[in-house]
C-alpha cells in the first residue's frame, strides 16, 4: 500500500483477536471513511460498564432480600413463609455483586449471576404451583427476572468472548506543529526508534511493509513484520503485524488539527499480545513497564524530538523515567553514560533556527 490517498476501514473492535485483522482487508470506501472507526479494540469496556450496573443491581436486590424478605415475598406474590430462603438468596446476590466489583474483568461474577437467575426462575416456578400463590404477581416477577437474565447472559458472553484480547494502550499529546509535519515525521517509520524507548530499529521494506525490532522483557529481542492498513495523509495511519510475528500487534495514530490552528492533537491506540502472554505482562508491570505509561513517555519524547529537536534528558532519567530507573540528580559517570538506554545524540534531528526539524 502506498502513501497516496488511500482509505480503508480498520476496527479492531470487530475482530476478536489481532490475528483476525488479517481477514479485514482494507476496502476503499471513499467518503464513508470514518476516522473515529480507526480506534482499535474497545468492546470489553461497554461490557464492563454493563457488568458494573448488574453488580449494583445485585447488591441492591440482595440487601432488600436480606433486610425486607416479607416485602419481597409480597411483591413477587409468593408465600411469606420462605423468608429464610429469600434471605439466603439475598446473600447470594450480594456475593455475586461483590465478585463483580472485585474482579478487574468480572466474567465469573456475571456468569454466577446467570446461575442465580436460573435458581430464581426455578424457585418462582415452584412457587407458582403453590395454591396460595398470587399468580399475577408471580408472572410479573418472572417476567422481570427473565429480562435481567437476558442482560446477564449478553454481558457474560461479551466478557467471555473478549477474554483473549491483548493489552491495549491509548495516549495523546499536543504538538506545536501543523498535522502535515507531524504526519510526515511519523509516516517515516524509521524515525520511530528515536523516541520509542523499546524499539531498536524499523526498516521500511516499501509497499507499506516494514520490519520492526524491539527489546523484549529480560533482555530478549523480538521482531515482526508490519503492514499499513490505512494511510490517510495528515489524518491517520493504522498498521498491524503480519502472521508469524514474535508479538502480534496493531495500532492507529490520528493527527487532528487543533482548534485555532495551534498545532496537532496526536492520538495513538495500540493493541498487542505481550511476549509471555498475560503472565509476561504481569511480570513486566512489576518492573514498572506499564503499557500506558510507556506510551505516554514515548509520546512525550516524540513531542520533544519534534519541538525541541531531540529527546530531553535529566541526570535522573538517563536510564529511564520509571521509579526504579531513576538515578540520583547528579551527573553520571562515563561508565553509567555508556549503559544509558538512549542518549539524546541518537535521537537528534538538526534544527534550523526557524524551529522545524530536518533529517539528520
Amino acid at each position: 500500500m502506498s502513501t497516496n490517498q488511500q482509505t480503508g476501514t480498520f476496527d479492531l473492535g470487530e475482530a476478536s483477536s489481532v490475528s483476525e485483522l488479517e481477514l479485514q482487508a482494507p476496502q476503499s470506501r471513499g467518503a464513508n471513511y470514518s476516522v473515529e472507526r480507526a480506534r482499535p479494540g474497545l468492546p470489553s469496556s461497554s461490557a464492563k460498564r454493563l457488568a458494573k450496573g448488574l453488580g449494583w443491581f445485585s447488591i441492591g436486590l440482595g440487601l432488600a432480600e436480606l433486610l425486607a424478605p416479607r416485602a419481597i415475598a409480597n411483591i413477587s406474590g409468593v408465600s411469606n413463609k420462605h423468608t429464610g430462603l429469600i434471605r439466603l438468596y439475598g446473600l447470594r446476590e450480594i456475593g455475586a455483586g461483590i465478585t463483580i466489583f472485585a474482579q478487574e474483568k468480572p466474567t465469573e461474577g456475571v456468569w454466577s449471576r446467570v446461575v442465580g437467575d436460573a435458581i430464581d426462575l426455578a424457585s418462582l416456578g415452584v412457587a407458582a404451583t403453590n395454591p396460595n400463590a398470587k399468580l399475577g404477581r408471580v408472572a410479573f416477577a418472572t417476567a422481570n427476572v427473565l429480562a435481567v437474565t437476558a442482560l446477564d447472559v449478553v454481558c457474560a458472553m461479551q466478557l467471555s468472548s473478549s477474554t483473549n484480547r491483548g493489552i491495549q494502550a491509548k495516549g495523546s499529546c499536543f504538538i506545536n506543529l501543523p498535522p502535515e509535519e507531524v504526519y510526515s515525521f511519523w509516516r517515516n517509520f524509521e524515525n520511530l526508534p528515536r523516541f520509542m524507548r523499546h524499539l531498536e530499529s524499523v526498516r521500511d521494506l516499501g509497499d507499506g511493509r516494514s520490519h520492526w525490532k524491539a527489546k523484549g522483557p529480560a533482555g530478549t529481542e523480538v521482531e515482526w513484520h508490519a503492514t499499513i492498513i490505512a494511510d490517510v495523509p495528515n489524518e491517520v495511519i493504522t498498521w498491524r503485524s503480519l502472521e508469524g510475528s514474535d508479538v502480534d500487534n496493531a495500532g492507529a495514530v490520528r493527527f487532528e488539527r487543533a482548534a485555532g490552528n495551534r498545532g496537532t492533537i496526536l492520538k495513538v491506540n495500540l493493541e498487542y499480545n505481550p511476549v509471555g502472554g498475560v503472565l509476561g505482562a504481569a511480570v513486566a508491570k512489576l518492573f514498572g513497564e506499564e503499557p500506558e505509561q510507556q506510551l505516554d513517555d514515548d509520546l512525550r519524547r516524540f513531542k520533544q524530538v519534534l519541538e525541541v529537536g531531540e529527546v530531553v534528558v535529566s541526570d535522573a532519567t538517563l536510564l529511564g523515567t520509571g521509579y526504579t530507573a531513576q538515578r540520583p540528580g547528579q551527573p553520571a559517570s562515563a561508565k553509567e553514560l555508556e549503559s544509558a538506554e538512549m542518549l539524546p545524540s541518537e535521537t537528534a534531528t538538526n534544527y534550523g533556527s526557524e524551529g522545524r526539524y530536518t533529517e539528520r
Partner: protein, 407 residues
C-alpha cells in the same frame, strides 16, 4: 567535582561527584562562581517535597562562566559570564511562546510524576526533586544547563556577582509576586513574609507604583530590612494581623496581598499547632496560614498573589471569603526568563541593588552549615551565598559585617 548533595531529611553534605557533560545539543556547562541557598531549598531540606532521592544535588540559584557549549547554542561563547534562571524552558513549546517559561512542556522528563501530584506538569527545575525533572542542581562547582540558548543571560563585567546573582530566582520571583497585583498608583499592598523573596516583593511593589507597602513577619532583623526598604511592618507575634491591617487601612483592607511565605508558614500558636499536627500526620501537605490570612484581609474585589511555594493540599481554605468578595487569585512559579532582561536593566540603572539581601557569604564546602543557619535563622541569617572559590579563612561564619541589625 564537589557538590552539595541531599541524603535525607535535614541531611546535606558536600561530596565528590562526576563532572557534568553535554548531553543535549542545546546544553552548556557552567563553572559556578556564586550560588545561593533559597527558601524553597528548605522545603527540600526538611523533606516536605516528595520524590527526592539520596544523592540529589541541590541548588537552583547560580551563575558562573560558560566553559563548554553544545553545538546548537549559538548565542553564547565559552568564557561568557551568565546568570542561569531556575526554571528550565525549551523556548519552543506553546507555553514558552506565551512567555510562561515555568510551564514549559518539554523540560520535565519526569512529567508523569508531577501529573500524578498536580494533574499537569510544570517545567523542569534545577536541583528541585524528581517530580520537576531530577536535574542536578547548582550548589556545585559545575552545572549542566539545558536550553542554554533560551535561559542564561549574559551579564556585564562592571556588575558584581552579588548584584546579578538573584536574577536567577528571588528577584524575578519577588517582582512577579508584585506584578501580579496589577498595582495602580495609590495602592496599598500587604506582604506576608519578609524573607529574601518578600524583601524583593516589597521593593518591586514600590518600583511598580505602590504608595504603601505593609510587611508582615516575626523576625526582628527581617522586619528591620523591610522597613529599610520603605515598608510599614506588622510583627504577628505582637499584633493581631487582621486587626492591625484593618486599622491601618480604615477597615477596607489592602488593595492586594502577596503570600511570600508558602507551605511552611508559622503563625499564632493554636493555628500553627493545628496545621503542624495535620502536616506531620500526612493529612495535609502544606501549612497555608499566611494564605488564609491574606485572603481574609484583602479588600473586596482585591487580588491575592501567591508566589510562596506550595507542594500539595491544604485544609480549611476560606473559599467562601474568596468567592463572595470577588477576590482574584494569581499564582505561579516565576517565569524568570521573562523578567531577566528588564530587571538587569533596572540594576544597571541603579534603581535597585539586589545584594542588600545577603547576610552571609561562605565557601561551597560550608553548605551544610549554611542550611542549618538559614533554617534556624541563626546569627540573624537572611540570605546565604556560597562560593566554590571562597577563602575559608575569611571569618568564621562568612558574616557580612557591613550589614548591621537594629533590634
Amino acid at each position: 567535582m564537589r557538590a552539595n548533595c541531599w541524603y535525607g531529611k535535614t541531611m546535606v553534605s558536600v561530596s565528590d561527584v562526576p563532572d557534568p557533560q553535554i548531553l543535549n545539543q542545546r546544553d552548556a556547562i557552567v563553572k559556578i562562581t556564586s550560588t545561593a541557598i533559597c527558601g524553597s531549598d528548605l522545603h527540600l531540606y526538611n523533606h516536605f517535597i516528595p520524590t527526592m532521592k539520596s544523592g540529589d544535588i541541590l541548588g537552583h540559584e547560580f551563575m558562573g562562566e560558560v566553559v563548554e557549549l553544545g553545538r546548537e547554542v549559538t548565542n553564547l561563547k565559552v568564557g561568557d559570564r551568565v546568570v542561569v534562571p531556575f526554571p528550565i524552558a525549551c523556548g519552543r513549546c506553546f507555553f514558552c511562546k506565551e512567555q510562561m517559561f515555568s510551564l514549559c512542556e518539554n523540560s520535565n522528563p519526569n512529567a508523569w510524576m508531577a501529573e500524578k501530584m498536580f494533574g499537569h506538569s510544570p517545567a523542569g527545575i534545577f536541583g528541585y526533586s524528581h517530580l520537576t525533572g531530577g536535574y542536578a542542581g547548582g550548589q556545585a562547582e559545575y552545572a549542566r544547563v539545558p536550553f542554554a540558548d533560551v535561559g542564561p543571560i549574559k551579564v556585564p563585567d562592571h556588575l558584581s556577582d552579588e548584584q546579578v546573582l538573584f536574577l536567577s530566582d528571588i528577584f524575578p520571583t519577588g517582582y512577579m509576586g508584585a506584578e501580579m497585583c496589577d498595582i495602580k498608583p495609590g495602592d496599598t499592598i500587604a506582604i506576608w513574609g519578609c524573607g529574601p523573596v518578600g524583601q524583593f516583593s516589597i521593593r518591586s511593589a514600590f518600583l511598580l507604583g505602590a504608595e504603601r507597602v505593609i510587611a508582615i513577619d516575626q523576625v526582628p532583623e527581617r522586619l528591620q530590612m523591610a522597613e529599610d526598604g520603605g515598608a510599614e511592618t506588622i510583627n504577628y507575634e505582637e499584633q493581631n494581623v487582621y486587626e492591625a491591617l484593618m486599622e491601618m487601612t480604615g477597615g477596607r483592607g489592602p488593595d492586594a496581598c502577596i503570600d511570600d511565605v508558602g507551605m511552611e508558614a508559622h503563625g499564632p500558636t493554636a493555628i500553627f499547632a493545628y496545621d503542624r499536627l495535620k502536616q506531620a500526620a500526612g493529612l495535609e501537605t502544606d501549612r497555608p496560614h499566611a494564605l488564609r490570612e491574606a485572603i481574609m484581609c484583602c479588600r473586596n474585589g482585591g487580588i491575592v498573589s501567591v508566589i510562596g511555594v506550595y507542594g500539595g493540599f491544604v485544609d480549611k481554605f476560606p473559599l467562601g471569603s474568596l468567592m463572595n468578595r470577588s477576590l482574584t487569585i494569581k499564582s505561579g512559579q516565576a517565569h524568570v526568563q521573562r523578567y531577566m532582561r528588564p530587571l538587569l536593566q533596572m540594576i544597571e540603572n541603579g534603581d535597585i541593588d539586589p545584594s542588600f539581601v545577603i547576610t552571609h557569604r561562605m565557601s561551597l564546602e560550608d553548605a551544610p552549615r549554611g542550611y542549618d543557619m538559614f533554617k534556624n535563622k541563626k546569627d540573624n541569617c537572611i540570605k546565604v551565598v556560597l562560593k566554590p572559590d571562597w577563602d575559608r579563612t575569611n571569618g568564621a561564619n562568612g558574616r557580612d559585617e557591613s550589614y548591621t541589625v537594629v533590634h
